[in-house]
């Protein structure tokens, strides 16, 4: 006898999105640095900002309200429209 169970998953169809091509040079690129609001993430990002600026990148800083929740949609939109590259600082 044929047996069936019901699919317990969300049955979503995942949209595949291709990543942007990696830039060959950082010079002149708009680089976003996203601070996720974890303690000491700013220490890491400050250092990155100075290194990237030395390499000719135009650095912009962004900050999530809290590391525990996904970035608000407006912030994601802002980053997507203002940056060529984004670097997210993860940990303490």
């Amino acid at each position: 006898m044929t047996r069936f169970v019901l699919d317990p998953t969300g049955e979503r169809r995942v949209t595949q999105r291709l990543r942007l091509e990696r830039p060959s040079t950082i010079g002149g690129k708009r680089v976003g640095l996203l601070d996720i609001s974890k303690p000491r993430g700013d220490v890491f990002l400050d250092r990155l900002e100075s290194r990237l600026s030395e390499a000719g990148a135009r650095v912009q800083r962004f900050r999530k309200p809290t590391f525990t929740k996904p970035a608000p949609v407006d912030l994601r939109h802002e980053i997507a429209t203002q940056c060529d590259v984004i670097i997210e600082a993860l940990a303490d």
Partner: protein, 476 residues
């Protein structure tokens, strides 16, 4: 008494039922005098002399929701006006408008169970007549596949065997709620997938729930998928927390939850399966799996399930009511917590001594040098609770006394103090700081009658940056 010309009578019977056999002369008389349609569930030739229609697939019985035979229904067109269940001369005379029915019969006699509610048939009938209500993909199992192993192989298990969610089981589970299967309960992180009542019911079957638990499960899923509770962060954190579920109200006893001996432990079906269902929803619908978005360093066994009821009668009032639920309402409170730890104090006989003892344990939560950033839940055992209540301390008094004992000089907390690098920033050295933010210590009552113990459940990053406890009333 005359009935309108559009009315007709419908009777559902079976030969196997002695009451149905007894009322055969009544059915013949009504058949002769009124518009009567008789449906017979078992023998097409029964009852003789009324040209009964054989309800061989029990479709009429199912859709008319016949629980007992004989049932006599008066219809006005397609609309049921009234029904009589079993034999009652007075009711049958009123429904039919015919007086003096079978004077030799007893005035009443109960009927028998309808074949449409026969436990051996009901699941199959529900699947046949109501299966179209479901939308989940049907996954076919091969003959050689073991049902339980399939669930593991497809990644649908939390590590323990799950009950295969067949259509019949899911339909039976859905009997536990009045909500439609397609109703969206919440949007579940991390994949942000809308979860329907049906998918919650699928998870409830897998976890081992009874249908009467389903409204509780649905309410907890709603509660954890709020921005306040933030199940996304609770799942993703490296800390060992998960949803801790405290249930209140008379419904906890109706569904057999445990608030007593071993309340936070194993052995009670409702406690264990409600909590387990919620985690299966996060895993299978939300896509939140350990090692993927769940990054817990250690986790804790309560992430399989951590759900208990509060004592219905203890002198501190219910946690849910203290958080705004209506008095006496069935309600859940969800708290992002780790596993419980025990507070041992077998000698304190005054509330002051016991409060100091508990406060000293609370102070060490997560780190004796970190304050304000974590909430906690204190689960008082009955013997500890009595020490306070015998002295007239209520919830507010106890929490105030604990708060007073948890004011800590900043010099003991700052980084480097006591030779420990961890701690609060140096700027706090000049201040006295409370261990918990206002409202950050929750108080619940559970546990067996013997044992001068309480339990502390440590929380996670609190307030807007992390998770806030959420209380919701349960809807059926």
């Amino acid at each position: 008494m005359a009935t309108a010309p559009t009315t007709q009578l419908v009777a559902v019977v079976k030969r196997e039922c002695e009451t149905c056999q007894m009322v055969t002369p009544v059915l013949r008389e009504l058949h002769r005098r009124r518009r009567l349609v008789v449906y017979t569930q078992d023998d097409p030739a029964f009852p003789e002399g009324v040209s009964a229609i054989h309800d061989d697939d029990l479709a009429v019985s199912w859709h008319q929701q016949i629980d007992t035979v004989p049932t006599l229904i008066r219809m006005d067109g397609d609309v049921e006006v009234e029904r009589a269940v079993g034999w009652s001369r007075a009711e049958w005379e009123r429904l039919s408008g015919v007086d003096g029915l079978a004077p030799d019969l007893p005035p009443t006699r109960p009927g028998c169970g309808s074949m449409s509610v026969d436990p051996d048939r009901v699941d199959e009938l529900r699947r046949r007549f109501e299966g179209g209500r479901l939308h989940s993909r049907h996954v076919e199992l091969a003959d050689e596949e073991d049902d339980i192993e399939v669930m593991f192989q497809r990644g649908w298990s939390d590590g323990l065997p799950v009950v295969p969610p067949t259509e019949a089981r899911v339909l039976r589970m859905l009997d536990g709620t009045s909500r439609a299967p397609e109703d969206v309960v919440a949007t579940v992180p991390p994949d942000l997938v809308d979860v329907t009542v049906e998918k919650v019911a699928v998870a409830a079957v897998m976890a081992g729930c009874l249908p009467e638990y389903l409204p509780w499960v649905i309410t907890v899923v709603e509660a954890i998928c709020t921005d306040e509770f933030n199940i996304h962060g609770v799942l993703a954190t490296t800390m060992p927390v998960g949803p801790v579920i405290v249930c209140n109200g008379p419904g906890t006893q109706a569904i057999g939850m445990n608030a007593g001996v071993n309340a936070l432990g194993q052995g009670n079906r409702a406690n264990l399966t409600i909590g387990r269902t919620v985690q299966l929803v996060v895993r299978n619908v939300g896509g939140g799996r350990p090692g993927e978005v769940d990054r817990a360093t250690h986790g804790n066994p309560g992430k399989l399930s951590f759900c208990f009821a509060e004592h219905s009668k203890w002198s501190f009032g219910s946690l849910a009511e203290s958080r705004g639920a209506a008095p006496g309402a069935d309600a859940v409170t969800v708290f992002a917590g780790e596993g419980p730890r025990c507070v041992v104090d077998q000698l304190s006989r005054t509330p002051e001594s016991l409060a100091s003892s508990i406060a000293a344990c609370l102070r060490t939560l997560h780190s004796p040098k970190l304050v304000l950033v974590f909430d906690a839940m204190l689960v008082l055992g009955p013997e500890h609770a009595r020490v306070f209540s015998d002295s007239g301390w209520d919830r507010e008094r106890l929490l105030a006394e604990l708060d007073q004992r948890l004011q800590i000089p900043g010099t003991e907390l700052v980084r480097g103090a006591a030779g420990i690098a961890e701690g609060m920033p140096a700027a706090f050295a000049a201040h006295t700081l409370p261990k918990f933010r206002a409202g950050g210590l929750l108080l619940a009552g559970a546990g067996g009658a013997a044992g001068l113990f309480s339990a502390i459940i440590g929380g996670w990053a609190n307030a807007e940056i992390g998770s806030q406890p959420v209380t919701r009333e349960v809807r059926t």
